[in-house]
Amino acid sequence: MAKTVLITDDTAFMRMTLRNVIEKNGYSVVGEAGDGEEAIALYKELTPDMVTMDITMPKMDGISAIKEIMKVDPQAKIIVCSAMGQKPMVIEALSAGAKDFLVKPFDAERVVESLRKIGS
């Protein structure tokens, strides 16, 4: 069965771009969240195999969402996809529990490579 992915990004355009890449490569997108709060709720509801997480979002940012999801499920596999690639932010995301950090704009291969590595 295809591994399931929850996409988190505040822009519909980026969610659509990620969905295309992810689905084309044999994964199943089970949900889309537009902010950190939605990501936590959908994670609990859908228990996806992996999550893509934006950082800068309204209501609740990605770092806070990673921390909350890791509390719910310490085995959660979260890949950050954010334009904000500055060192302190990368370190904070990884220490919160993210397994990988992709800086936007990313190419499709880099996303797939990360899904393969993290999902295995």
């Binding site: 355009f13 980026m14 800068t56 334009a83 690639g85 500055q86 932010m89 704009p105």
Partner: protein, 197 residues
């Protein structure tokens, strides 16, 4: 003093805009090229709106508030025509209107450009510059300026960086506005080993 500050801003603009353009080009699968070296100008506030297209012209503005070690405001402004070319390249939508998906694509594009610019400066200075969730405004230039600069410490002059791109046979014009708060401008200069400006 003013010339030194302007030179310094031009240099920052070169580096930041170079990174932002590379990011934008990647988003457009390499179909975009920078046409001219970015040009920085310091303009009185009331002249700045004219410079980006006249206060009556409809433009698109994507803007953020910057926090962290350096605080300030930043925006990417472009004429509606140019924005519509980018929307077409990104989404395939050639309706000539800014629909919901087009707005979202422009928000993401602006976010990636602005953040790439800040990432480059952050790397050089070792200072954190975190952008907020971007706002998007499609309106007359005068009105967009008001949104962009809401809450900014604008004394007299603003620095505007003009860039010109070429994508898919069409020229795209854009303006990048970086407005660090006065105190934090000194921090950037200092971290690069320059005397106080």
């Amino acid at each position: 003093m003013r010339d030194t500050k302007l030179d310094f801003l031009k240099e920052l603009a070169n580096i930041g805009t170079g990174h932002a353009t590379t990011a934008l080009s990647q988003m457009l699968s390499g179909r975009l090229f920078q046409l001219v070296v970015p040009d920085a100008q310091m303009l009185p506030f009331d002249k700045a709106a004219d410079y980006v297209g006249g206060s009556e012209q409809v433009i698109v503005g994507i803007f953020v508030v910057v926090s962290g070690d350096v605080r300030g405001h930043m925006a990417f402004l472009l004429p509606l025509d140019s924005a519509l070319v980018l929307v077409r390249l990104l989404t395939g939508d050639d309706s000539g209107e800014v629909h919901e998906l087009a707005r979202s694509a422009l928000q993401e594009l602006g976010n990636i450009m602005i953040t790439s610019y800040l990432n480059a400066l952050a790397k050089m200075t070792d200072l954190l510059m975190a952008p907020s969730v971007p706002g998007v405004a499609v309106d007359m230039a005068g009105a967009v300026w008001q949104s962009v600069l809401a809450g900014a410490e604008v004394a007299n002059e603003v620095t505007v960086i003009r860039t010109e791109f070429f994508a898919d046979g069409e020229s795209i014009e854009g303006h990048i506005l970086f407005l660090p708060d006065d105190d934090d401008f000194g921090k950037i200069a200092h971290s690069l080993g320059l005397e106080e400006m």
